[in-house]
Amino acid sequence: MTGKQFQSAAAAIADIPDGATIMIGGFGEAGSPTELIHALIDQGTKDLTVVNNNTGNGHVGLAALIGSGQVAKMICSYPRSSLSRVFPDLYRAGRIELELVPQGTLAERIRAGGAGIPAFYTATTVGTPLADGKEVRRFDDRDYVLERALTADFALIKCETADHKGNLTYNKTARNFNPIMCMAATTTIVQARRIVAAGDTDPEHVVTPGIFVDRLVEVSAPQVESQLIADGVTYP
């Protein structure tokens, strides 16, 4: 069996093609795979559809990827950023498409995509403009909106530890969307703070089982987005 570990972020993301749909983990800066995103900017692939809760901060990470013009469409719940004009400026100029999805519906669409469930009904958005054009069905005296599952070609993920089998653990609220995105992508690429031997992670403590993980790269000292912004760093 071939190993999952790659020697660099650049090598791990090298084959992502133009037009790919990419789920990127993180909520704000917590759990955002900054090094993988920066490698994607260097690699230059374009016309991407990106799924993330937000649209990035400052001019690093996701905001820098959007700012580089590589993203044609964002699927997210809250495209307002702190300290970033990147998305609003492109959106108002008509140069980027937005699919606005309530945060819980976004999470459940991703979970469903990873679980082989093509669609589900939810009470969220009933009676609001975000339900326009969607099928509504009544169950037990309450209306529900039909929502389709989301899948992706690739997921870019940040975790705390990964063992050689791809079993992942996370750190605090940096977990957020990462575990469900691992499940919903054809190819899941993970940057881990530490890569350890199989067996070093207690099976009871595994959050994402290795079956959902394809590629690993160790980034032992990941950049901290808020620190980069405070230091005035822009990427590239």
């Binding site: 495209p79 108002r92 969220t124 009676g127 605090k172 609220t173 990462n178």
Partner: protein, 222 residues
Amino acid sequence: MNKIRAIAEGWSRDQMAELAAMDIPDGAFVNLGIGIPELVAKYVPNDREFIYHTENGLLGMGGAPAAGEEDPELINAGKKPVTVVPGASYFHHADSFAMIRGGHIDVCVLGAMQVSENGDLANWSTGKPDAIPAVGGAMDLVAGVKTIFVITQHSTKDGASKLVRDCSYPLTGKGVVSRIYTDLAVVDVTAEGFRVRKLAPGVSFDEVCGVTDAPLLPMVES
């Protein structure tokens, strides 16, 4: 607009938050929206414990960390650094919203742009063409949490009533709000419409009616 200024000061933001906190039962699982609702955490009655949920994956959220103790990977839904209390747990986003959408969270306190007399809430978008629409978790919270409280100023900065017959802004949810805490009054949403539950000191029922764009029912004497 001038009518508002003629009215006594009314409650402060902190007092509105304290009134809301008094109405949350011991042991409740609580989600607090960003802004004035966050102040509720300062006023938990001494004999009660609330367990705070933040939708980015933490149950058992504590207060802000001391300066220098911030952890960029331990934040709340407003993306501000927080701490955890003993007995806290972390989980992924689908589990977090299963808590919300599955009816496991007892109380959510939110801000509002408008609330209608049948409990419709508008708090995510003005609907203006140049606005960047952003909804976050608001629609999930109002659809799934058992009780929705709103804390808001009674009127906008321009003097428009936030309590209305029908919301003119895009809705967050229909018929979802139970009670509204404004600087002038605590108002229940009932089957008959808005009913004043409590008035701020020095504020009369008629004065509140005068700055509200919907009929108000008087307090029920108890």
